[in-house]
């Protein structure tokens, strides 16, 4: 079944795979076409026949809400929150993973084990008290409230720790003999060697943070901090009569991730090959 049937014409394989691929991609096509569809055709046809820019114009004007251009502001919020969260997650993961893989200190084994325990711990138990904590310290409805509780990724620490372990100790020892400090060794030698795994971790973290709903939904209470994902989610019900603009907003939410992924796709494939070994 696999790797055999070499005598069959190969074109059929491409035709079949392409058909399956088009089926898988179709929801995206449906999304984009509906964001440009005439309003009486939205959600009516597999492929709309009349097109208009009305949905996009609606999105960029300040229809239906008091705030000026709420959708653009929500996009900006998503960008700020995701970028800062992921930057912190990456930075902390690199630093902590370096300690857990290359340094020798008291409590290292315990920290490693606790990290694993925490990774398999069902996180849902933390939702209510984390929300109360953020409320108590006055971070509700602020960027900090959205970012800080998501500033450390256990998964990223785990992935980096495993990767750093595969880097030979001799490299670090010789750099130490040359007088390099641990921070220099980490950021001048180890991090540059971790390009492909960094791409994989970055893309997964960015996608996940960009599309987070539950936490962002309970923390952001106003137009000032609401993320695009949450705004679309809120407008789902009461603005159900404007499905066209919802599709346009969804394109706005999805497109940056696709562009980012395509930009890094080569490094991503290399990195995946490493992580799957």
């Amino acid at each position: 079944m696999v790797g055999i049937k070499k005598n069959k014409p190969r074109t059929w394989r491409y035709v079949l795979t392409t058909c399956v691929m088009l089926l898988m991609i179709y929801p995206f096509i449906y999304l984009v076409l509906n964001s440009f569809a005439a309003w009486d055709q939205v959600d009516k046809k597999l492929i709309p026949t009349h097109y208009t820019l009305r949905s996009w114009q609606w999105l960029f004007s300040n229809n239906a809400t008091a705030a000026p251009a709420p959708w653009l502001h929500a996009f900006f919020n998503t960008f700020v929150v995701t970028t800062l969260s992921v930057a912190l997650m990456m930075l902390f993961a690199i630093i902590v993973a370096f300690a857990l893989s290359k340094l020798n200190f008291r409590g290292k084994k315990f920290t490693n084990n606790f990290l694993l325990f925490q990774m398999f711990f069902p996180g849902i138990i933390l939702l209510v008290p984390q929300f109360l904590l953020v409320t108590k310290v006055g971070l509700i409805d602020s960027y900090a409230g959205l970012i800080l509780p998501t500033a450390v990724s256990l998964w990223a620490i785990f992935m980096y720790t495993n990767f750093f372990k595969s880097i030979p100790d001799t490299l670090i020892e010789s750099a130490t003999l040359d007088g390099a400090t641990p921070l220099q060794i980490l950021f001048k030698i180890i991090v540059p060697m971790s390009k492909s795994i960094t791409t994989v971790i970055f893309l997964f973290l960015y996608t996940e943070r960009w599309t987070t709903l539950l936490w962002d939904m309970i923390v952001s209470k106003s137009d000032g901090t609401v993320t695009l994902n949450v705004l679309i989610s809120q407008m789902f019900g009461p603005y159900g009569t404007y499905p066209g603009p919802m599709y346009a907003a969804s394109v706005l939410l999805t497109l940056p991730l696709i562009v980012l992924f395509l930009l890094f796709s080569k490094n991503f494939q290399q990195g995946m090959q490493y992580t799957l070994k």
Partner: protein
């Protein structure tokens, strides 16, 4: 570097230790304490209710639903995701060229937000949507996809399987590529059928990547929230009421923090035990193939 240096080690692990203390240990203790109170998020008056919240939870039909719905999702979503990703992996693996390009295309659904896919699915499956219009004209039937218990559960499972399958296919294809072609050739010489080859050679030999996919998929089915929140709100009649949905409703809609914490503790225990048992079962299946 092999010299022990406690100060350096502590300095480098400090971000993790501080974060875990504030956002893991503290909330964990807080939630255990909350579970024994009747606090409602606003009232300054907090009373100890003992095991009251847990007893209420065990009597609640919504909790009974959450318990079973999770396993229903598991039984529908996991096979769906594994089959779909297996089809993709086998198809792409059979291509002599452009494998990377196709894998990138199949991975794109993973980048979609649950909110966006819910929007698409809701529009596509609505009464006047393309699918129902076609079914009406062709077969004279109307299906209330999100309003009937079985179809609603299936639709949500299918959406998540669609989202994850490209990612899982990446994992499976690395398993397929680790199998040597000579084994297939030998089996074909012995006259083995394609089906025998698939079940007796391909599946056992790619067990490690199947294991990864199964564990990931099982984890996903215990954490379903966004799609259910957007499309059904846990309905109809609790048919899609997951643990997450119930905790959200109790904590942030009904504002019963204490009760929600008790449910969260129950959910964590059930989830942790279920995943441990399932993991053991999958590992047992691997032992059968000679993997340990």
């Amino acid at each position: 570097m092999n010299k022990r240096n406690d100060k350096l080690g502590f300095a480098f692990t400090a971000p993790y230790i501080i974060f875990t203390t504030i956002f893991f240990l503290l909330p964990l203790l807080w939630s255990i304490w909350l579970a024994f109170t009747n606090w409602n998020l606003i009232s300054p008056d907090i009373q100890n209710v003992g095991l009251g919240n847990f007893i209420d939870a065990l009597k609640s039909p919504a909790i009974h639903a959450a318990f079973f719905v999770t396993y229903k999702f598991l039984l529908v979503f996991v096979p769906l995701a594994v089959v779909l990703s297996m089809i993709i992996a086998v198809l792409v693996h059979g291509l002599p060229k452009f494998k990377g390009l196709y894998l990138v295309a199949f991975f794109l659904p993973y980048l979609s937000s649950g909110v966006v896919t819910s929007l698409i699915v809701k529009g596509f499956l609505s009464y006047n949507g393309p699918l129902n219009t076609w079914l009406r004209n062709r077969f004279d039937v109307n299906i209330d996809w999100l309003g009937s218990p079985n179809t609603a559960l299936f639709v949500v499972s299918f959406m998540i399987a669609w989202k994850m399958s490209g990612y899982y296919a990446l994992i499976l294809i690395s398993g397929l590529e680790s199998i040597n072609d000579e084994i297939y050739e030998a089996a074909m010489m012995d006259g083995a059928s394609n089906r025998t080859i698939f079940w007796k050679i391909t599946v056992p030999m790619m067990y490690p990547s199947l294991y990864t996919v199964l564990i990931l998929a099982v984890g996903v089915s215990f954490g379903i929230f966004t799609e259910v929140y957007q499309l059904t709100g846990g309905g109809p009649n609790y048919a899609t009421n997951t643990w997450q949905m119930e905790i959200y409703n109790q904590a942030f809609v009904n504002l019963k923090s204490g009760y929600a914490s008790a449910i969260a503790i129950l959910a964590s225990i059930v989830t942790f035990m279920s995943i441990s048992v399932i993991r053991k079962l999958i590992e047992k299946w691997g032992h059968h193939y000679g993997w340990n």
